[in-house]
Symmetry: C2
Subunit: 708 residues, 2 copies
C-alpha cells in the first residue's frame, strides 16, 4: 500500500512530462521547482527538445535511461491519455496529473478521465489527480507543484487538500506564520488515489506529527472512516470539509467532480474516528499549529496574564463561552505573583500587570513561572497587547520562560499567545513563532483554538478510559434473527410486524414488554390478569402499519377493562379498514418511564448508523439526536446518551430518579449488532423505548427490509 | 445636556494641566498632540514654566487669560483634587482627568476619586474619567489623548471605550484598515459622565453615523437602556461588553472600579433597544465598518463570485450557518454571466470564474454587474484570493463596478470583499478600503459580519412594522390591584395567595380559570357540577406555599368524585401539617393545552423584566427562556414567543392545533403592567399558564412583595 507513497514523496527518479525551458510556461515553473531542491534523477520529457536547463531531455517517458518512480504530467488534457499509456509502458509507479479539463468540466472531460484511469489501472500506475496543484516533500526538498519556491525543512504538519487554490492559500497563510510542513498533497478530482490511502500513508510517516485534511467531497466513505480512525489513534488529524450546508452542497457539486455526501454521516464519522472537525480552513490551521508546536493540555483550566484589564476580561469571557475555565488562582500562587505587581494590580486570574511597562519582563516572566509551577491551570495564555508585544525584552522573557519550563523541566503545559498589535509587531511575533510558541491574533481566535485543543485532549483521555473489547451478541441470536428474517422475506414482505421487531431485539439482548397475541376478548382478559398491570392493546395486521391512525391502539387499560376495550378496537378497525386481515390484538404490559427513540439507518457513503434521542418534543421539535457509525464501541454508545441536550432527563431531574443508562446502551448495541449482521435491514425505528430506573423496554418498533 | 459635549469635543479653549516641555513626559506628549491640530486657544498650566513649546504657560488654571472650556488633567493622582478645585474656581466646563490612581487601585484611591467628584459637582464641572485614555474629535483636529499622532479627517464612526488599552488597540486596528473616525472617547472609571449622556450626545451629533460602545461595566442601567434606544432609532449602535461570564465578572470586578451587572439583563437591554450586540471588540469593528461604509441590505440573499471553487463552497457553508441564504441565480441572470465564463465554469452561485486569470476583470466585473441588475440577491460578496486579489486591473474593475452601481445608479446593495491573500496584498486592499468597500480576511469573518448586518436590517424592518402605540390597561385595573396589595400588606404578608395573584392578573385582562373557594365537600360538589368539566382541587392556606408537597393538589377529578377527593385532601394535609390554618379548598375547572411559564422579576441595574418559557423540560432542562425589559412594546412581546426554541409547539406540531398567541401576549402584557405600576411586586411567577387554540389561562401563580 505504501508503494505509491514512497514513489510519490521519496521518488528515486522523476520524469516531468511537458517540461519546458520557456519561462512563463507551467512546464518551466515545474522544472525550476524540481531543479531547486530535488536530489534524485530528473528526466525532462519533451519531444521537441534535447536539453532543458542543463538536463538531457527525452522524447517519451519510455526513453528515460532508468526506471521512473514518479511522472509529473503537465500537458493539455487531450494529450494526457497518451501520456498515461507511455507511463504504463515505462512501468512508472505514480503519475501525478496536474492538468485540468477532466471530470470537473463536464461529460467530455469525464470520459477522458475515465479513459486515462482505465489505462493507469491496467498498467499498474497509481494516478494522483487530475486537476490538482501537485505535491511537496519539504524535508526532501521536493516541490512537484505549481507553487513557486521551496518551503523550509524541519516541519511536521502534513496537509492534504482537495482544493488547489484554497489549499495553497492556507499553505501561504501558514508560512506567513512561520509554520513548517512535512508533506503537502493536492489530489483534485481524486480519480484513483483516495483519502483513505493517503491517510494510511501519513499515519505511518514518521516525519508527520499532525495531519490536516481539507476536503470538498468524500469517496469510499467507509474506508475513509476506518483509515481516519487508524490515523487518529496515532496522531492528531484535523479535518475541514466544505459543502456541508445544502447550498454548499449544490455549489460543491457544480465545482468538483464528486458529490459531497451527507453532512450528518460525515460529521459523525470524523468525531467517532477521534479526529478533530474544524469549521473552516483557517480554523484547521489554527488548531494544527497548536497541536504541532505545543503539548496537549491536561485539563480545561486557563491562566491569563495581561497588560490590558479589558482584554483580559474579554478573553476570560470567550474562554468560558467556548467551554474553558478561568479559575481564581490559589492563595499560594497569588502570593508568589503579588510581590511582582504594583499594589493595585490583580493577581487573581487574569493576572493584570497594569500598563506599568518598565516592569513588564519581571511581571510577565514571574507570573508565567508561578503558573508553570502550580497545579492551578492547564493552559497558559499571555496576552501581549501593544507595548508588551513590541518590547523585545519582554517578548524574549516570555519566550525563554516558556522554553525553560517546557524543554528543560519537561512540563507539558501548553502556552499560546493572544496577540493584539498591528503589523508593526511582525518582528517580535516571529521571535515567538520560531521558538514554537503559537501566536493568535485577538482574543476570539485564541480562545477558540485553546478550547478545540482542550476538547481534543479530553476526548483522547475519555477514549483511553472507554470499556475495552467489543461484547459479543448472545448465543443463538444470529440464528434466531436469520430464521425470522428469512420467513418474512419468504412471504414477500419488506415491513416487519411489531412483534417481529421485538423478537429480533430480544434475541440480541434488549428487553421487551410481556405481551401476548390474543384472538378473543376472553383470552385478552386472562392475559391481562396474569400481567397484573395496566395494559396496552394493539391491533396486529400485516395490512396495517400505522396502527393508531385506524384506532388500533389503546393505552393504560385496567385489567378488568381489557375485554371491553378489545371488542371496541376490533369494531373500530373493522369499520375503518374493512379489508384488513386481522391476526388478533396484542395485549402488552404497560411500561412507565421516560420516552426515548432508538433507531438504525444506512448512509449510502458511510454505511450503518445508530441514532438516539429523547421522545416527544426532543426529536420532533428540537431535532436533538445523536448518531454513531456501526460498529461503535460501548464508550461511543455511552457518549451518545450524554450528547443530547435533554440528557439531564436521564440522570434524574424534576423529582424523577435516574434511569438505567446501561439498559439503554444494551438496546443501542442490539440495534448496532442487527445492522451489522443483516445488510438487508435498511431501517429500524424503536419508538418509544421506555426507560426508568428499572431498565429500558422496547415498547414499539418498525423495521424495513431492502429488496434484494 | 450637550453643554458638556460641545465643551469636550469642540472646546474654544483648552487648558493642559501638567503640561511639560520635557520630551518623554506625558505632559509633553499631550502638548504635542494638541499643538498638532487643535485650532482653538491652548493654555499650558505649569507653575514652574513661563513658556512651553512656544505657548505662554500659566501657574494655575485661574490665571489663564480667557474662559476655559476643557481642562485636560495629567498630574499625579495626589495633585488632582487640588486641580479640580482650580477648575471649579476658574469656571471650567469639563475636566478630562487622564491620571490613574483612583477607585481602580483600592480604598484610598476611591476616597480620592470621591473627593474630586464632589468638588466637581459643587463647582459645576463635568468630570470625564479619571483613569482614562482621553478623547479625539478627528474632524476638528483635536487629539486630547495619550495616543500619538492625529487620525485622518472625514470619518463617521464614533467610538466610546471604557478600556483604555484595548480601546486603543481597536482604534489601531481600525486605522490599519483605513477606517476613519469622527469622535473617540475613553471614560475609564466613569466617576461622573456616564454612558447614557455620551449616547445622547452622539445620537445628536451629525458627524457620527455609527456608534461603537466598548464597555466593561454599566452604571445607571435604566438610563443607559433608554438612551441606547433613543440613539438606535437614529443610527446603528454596536455594543460589546466584557465581563459577561461569571469568571469574566470576577476578573472585571478586580480590574475596573465598577461591578459589571447581570449579563441577561444587559443582553436583553441591548437587543430590546435595537442596538447590535457584538461578541468581541474585533467583531464590533467588523460590523461598524460594514454599517458605516455600505448600505444595509434588503434581505438575506447573498451572491458570491470566486476564483477558487473550494473557497466559494466554504463561504457558502458559513453564510448558511450564520443564517444567510445563497440561492441559485435565476436563469436570466445566469444567462448574462455564462458568456463571460469558460464553458466548464459555474454561473449558478457561487459564480466560479475558475483560475483563468487573464479574464478575471471581465468575469468579476460582469458578474457583479449582473448581480446588481438582478433582484436575485441582496448582498454581493466577491472572493478575492491570491491572484485575483493581487491583480491591480481586477481589483480596480471590482471597485469601479461597485462604485458605479452604488453611487451613480444609487442601488443600495451592500458589497463586502472576502480577502484571502497574505501581507503582499496590502496595496490592492487599500484601493478597496479607500473607496469605502470593506475587506474581511477569510470566509468566516466575512460571513459573520454580513449575517450580523442582515440581522440588524431585518430587526429594523420588523420594528418598523411593529404595532404602534402602547395599549392601556383595562379601566379600574390599577385601583383593584392597589386595594388588593394594600390589604395583603396590611396583613403583614409578603407572599400572595394563588387566588390573589389570579385576581391581580384578571384585573389587568389576563384569563383565569373558573374557580371557587369551598369550605365543604357539598359546596365543592355543587361547584363542580356547574363547571361540567374535570376539576383541579387545591388546598388554600396562608401557611402553605408549596401545596403539592403536602398532598394539597389533585388534578383531573371528575365532577362526581370531587366530594370524595375534597375529604381526602383535607385529611392528608391535616396529617402532614396539623398547625396550618386552612381557609378551604379551591375547586377549579381544569384547562388543557400547552404548558407555559410567564414571570416577572427585577434587575438591580435595569429594573423590571418579563420572562416567557414553555413548561416542562423547556425551562427546567433546556433553560429556554426569553426576557424583555418593561415596558415592552407589543412587538417585543410577540418576538419573545418566537425567540424560544420550542416555539413550533405554539404554531401546531405533533397533530396539535396552533395556540392563541395573542392571548399569551395579553398575559405577558398584564405582568408587564403590574411590574410597571407596582414597584413593591418583586417577583411574579405564573406557572403554569395553559394555552390552547381557545386562549391562555393562568392556572397557578405566586407573587412576592418586597418589604418597604
Amino acid at each position: 500500500m505504501s508503494n505509491w507513497g514512497e514513489a510519490a514523496f521519496n521518488p528515486r527518479s522523476i520524469a516531468l512530462v511537458g517540461a519546458s525551458g520557456q519561462s512563463g510556461k507551467l512546464g518551466y515553473i515545474l522544472m525550476k521547482n524540481l531543479q531547486d531542491g530535488y536530489p534524485g534523477h530528473l528526466y525532462p520529457i519533451n519531444p521537441k527538445e534535447v536539453e532543458i536547463m542543463g538536463y538531457r531531455a527525452y522524447p517519451r517517458i519510455q526513453d528515460a535511461p532508468d526506471a521512473v518512480d514518479l511522472a509529473v504530467v503537465a500537458l493539455p488534457p487531450e494529450s494526457c491519455v497518451q501520456a498515461m499509456r507511455d507511463c504504463a509502458e515505462a512501468g512508472v509507479n505514480v503519475a501525478l496529473v496536474l492538468s485540468g479539463g477532466f471530470a470537473e468540466v463536464g461529460a467530455e472531460g469525464a470520459a477522458r478521465q475515465q479513459a486515462m484511469l482505465e489505462i493507469a489501472q491496467q498498467g499498474g500506475v497509481r494516478l494522483i489527480g487530475p486537476n490538482c496543484f501537485g505535491l511537496y516533500n519539504c524535508n526532501l526538498g521536493l516541490n512537484a507543484s505549481m507553487g513557486l519556491g521551496l518551503p523550509p525543512k524541519g516541519g511536521n504538519i502534513s496537509l492534504v487538500t482537495q482544493s488547489g487554490a484554497y489549499g495553497m492559500a492556507i499553505f501561504g497563510l501558514a508560512r506567513q506564520r512561520h509554520l513548517r510542513f512535512a508533506k503537502i498533497l493536492s489530489h483534485g478530482n481524486k480519480a484513483d488515489l483516495s483519502d483513505h490511502e493517503i491517510l494510511d500513508y501519513l499515519a505511518d510517516d514518521d516525519e508527520t506529527n499532525v495531519i490536516c485534511l481539507f476536503l470538498e467531497s468524500v469517496s469510499h466513505g467507509r474506508a475513509f472512516f476506518e483509515a481516519l480512525a487508524r490515523a487518529a489513534q496515532r496522531k492528531p488529524v484535523v479535518v475541514a470539509k466544505t459543502g456541508r450546508s445544502s447550498a454548499g452542497q449544490r455549489a460543491a457539486a457544480s465545482h468538483t467532480a464528486a458529490l459531497t455526501g451527507d453532512a450528518t454521516a460525515f460529521i459523525t464519522a470524523v468525531r467517532q474516528a477521534g479526529a478533530i472537525l474544524a469549521e473552516s480552513g483557517l480554523e484547521m490551521v489554527d488548531i494544527a499549529e497548536a497541536l504541532s508546536r505545543q503539548p496537549i493540555p491536561a485539563g480545561r483550566r486557563v491562566g491569563i496574564i495581561t497588560n490590558s484589564g479589558g482584554t483580559g476580561v474579554e478573553l476570560t469571557d470567550l474562554c468560558e463561552r467556548f467551554g474553558l475555565r478561568v479559575p481564581e488562582l490559589s492563595s499560594p500562587v497569588q502570593a508568589k505573583i503579588t510581590p511582582l505587581l504594583p499594589t493595585y494590580a490583580s493577581p487573581r486570574n487574569p493576572v493584570d500587570v497594569t500598563p506599568l511597562w518598565a516592569r513588564f519582563p519581571a511581571m510577565y516572566g514571574g507570573s508565567i513561572e508561578a503558573m508553570y509551577e502550580s497545579d492551578d491551570v492547564d493552559i497558559i495564555i499571555p496576552i501581549l497587547l501593544q507595548r508588551s508585544a513590541l518590547m523585545h525584552e519582554n517578548v524574549e522573557t516570555v519566550r525563554d520562560t516558556v522554553l525553560r519550563y517546557q524543554r528543560e523541566r519537561g512540563i507539558a503545559k501548553p502556552t499560546y499567545i493572544c496577540w493584539v498589535v498591528g503589523n508593526e509587531g511582525e518582528q517580535t511575533q516571529a521571535m515567538l513563532q520560531d521558538a514554537g510558541i503559537p501566536v493568535y491574533e485577538w482574543p476570539e481566535r485564541t480562545a477558540r483554538t485553546a478550547a478545540a485543543v482542550a476538547t481534543y485532549a479530553e476526548m483522547r483521555r475519555a477514549r483511553a478510559a472507554f470499556p475495552i473489547g467489543q461484547e459479543t451478541p448472545p448465543a443463538g441470536a444470529y440464528q434466531t434473527a436469520l430464521s425470522l428474517l428469512a420467513a418474512v422475506q419468504t412471504q414477500g414482505r419488506t415491513i416487519l410486524l411489531e412483534n417481529e421487531v421485538k423478537q429480533l431485539l430480544a434475541a440480541y439482548g434488549a428487553r421487551i414488554p410481556r405481551e401476548t397475541l390474543c384472538s378473543s376478548s376472553d383470552k385478552a382478559m386472562a392475559v391481562a390478569q396474569t400481567f397484573g398491570t395496566a395494559c396496552v392493546l394493539k391491533i396486529v395486521s400485516p395490512d396495517i402499519s400505522h396502527k393508531s391512525d385506524v384506532g388500533g391502539v389503546r393505552v393504560g387499560i385496567a385489567p378488568d377493562q381489557v375485554g371491553t376495550v378489545f371488542e371496541a378496537i376490533l369494531a373500530t378497525v373493522r369499520a375503518k379498514q374493512p379489508s384488513a386481515h386481522i391476526l388478533g390484538i396484542s395485549v402488552q404490559e404497560m411500561v412507565r418511564g421516560q420516552e426515548t427513540i432508538i433507531g438504525g439507518l444506512r448512509d449510502a457513503e458511510f454505511g450503518p448508523l445508530v441514532m438516539f434521542g429523547l421522545g416527544g418534543v426532543f426529536v420532533e421539535v428540537l431535532h436533538d439526536i445523536a448518531y454513531r457509525l456501526v460498529p461503535a464501541s460501548t464508550g461511543e454508545l455511552q457518549a451518545m446518551l450524554r450528547e443530547v441536550r435533554g440528557y439531564p432527563l436521564l440522570t434524574g431531574v424534576r423529582g424523577q430518579p435516574a434511569v438505567d443508562q446501561n439498559s439503554l446502551i444494551m438496546t443501542l448495541r442490539a440495534v448496532a449488532w442487527l445492522l451489522d449482521a443483516f445488510p438487508q435491514i435498511s431501517e429500524l425505528d424503536l419508538n418509544p423505548v421506555i426507560v426508568s430506573a428499572e431498565g429500558a423496554v422496547v415498547a414499539d418498533g418498525r423495521a424495513i427490509l431492502s429488496l434484494s
